[in-house]
């Protein structure tokens, strides 16, 4: 799924990185816990989060997250945007809640970055 399709589906506004909206997104990941993102995400995912601070940008950059979606109308500050521009990380924001945003993307076929773990738990 392309990032611009995600942006459209979630009625997003773009804070920075409009030039990267044609990026291919392989997985979806949603968390406010950055340690969970670092532990369980795979490279090539979009991260949906309600956590708006510098560590969200660092986590995304270091874990090879392709884009950040801030949920429920949250807005990153100037310093975050500056950092994201340097790190070539697109930041977009949706009015939807985390639960709704995840549901919309899941329904459109975007698989979970944590799928390998849930399969292991379900199938033993």
């Amino acid at each position: 799924m392309k990032l611009n399709e995600i942006s459209e589906a979630l009625k997003c506004e773009t804070f920075c990185g409009a030039e990267y909206l044609d990026r291919e997104i392989k997985f979806g990941c949603a968390s406010d816990l950055m340690s969970d993102v670092l532990a369980f995400s795979r490279a090539g995912a979009v991260l949906l989060t309600g956590l708006v601070n510098i560590q969200t940008i660092n986590t995304a950059f270091l874990a090879e997250i392709e884009a950040l979606v801030f949920v429920r109308g949250k807005i990153p500050d100037e310093r975050m945007i500056e950092m994201a521009i340097i790190k070539k990380l697109p930041l977009i924001g949706t009015p939807y809640s985390m639960y709704e945003a995840c549901g919309i993307l899941f329904n459109q076929g975007l698989g979970s970055t944590m799928e390998c773990i849930s399969e292991k738990v379900i199938n033993g």
């Binding site: 340690s35 993102v37 532990a39 490279a43 510098i54 660092n58 986590t59 950059f61 270091l62 090879e64």
Partner: protein, 141 residues
């Protein structure tokens, strides 16, 4: 890459504003050295979790990066309170984090296990009242 690359960084405890800077620099260096991206991601995550641990719990630390033709080694040596029970600290979910740490998205007891998960060799030593030393090795072969 034939030669060994070495660099040491300093991280200051409780400086949440700059937390992540050293790991970002380490990632940039590894990219410039032409290291495989999967390896870079593992090293970057291990380094970032270590850096956050220093910021959250220690007074300061030296983080050294050594890249040889066969492996990448990160050594984190902090001056801090030390860890009273390493076995317990290595358990997923065990944490002594404060509210401020949790507000940053950390302090959920995933740090040390996550460092170990990304390392090929992981070593931890701690002396109460002095500090903690982590030795993280990721093989390039």
């Amino acid at each position: 890459m034939d030669k060994t690359f070495t660099r040491t960084f300093t991280v200051v405890g409780n400086n949440f504003t700059d937390a992540g800077k050293v790991s970002t620099e380490i990632k940039m260096i590894l990219k410039q050295l032409g290291i495989n991206s999967t390896i870079i991601r593992r090293v970057a995550i291990a380094s970032y979790e270590s850096e956050m641990n220093v910021v959250m719990y220690a007074n300061k630390a030296d983080i050294s990066l050594v890249v040889s033709p066969s492996e990448i080694q990160i050594v984190v040596e902090d001056v801090g309170p030390g860890i009273p029970d390493i076995e317990l600290a290595m358990k997923e979910g065990f944490s002594t984090a404060t509210t401020e740490m949790r507000e940053m998205g950390f302090g959920a007891g995933m740090g040390l296990p996550n460092i170990k998960r990304n390392a090929d060799i992981f070593n931890i030593e701690s002396i109460m009242g002095k500090g903690t030393k982590l030795n993280i090795t990721v093989s390039l072969n």
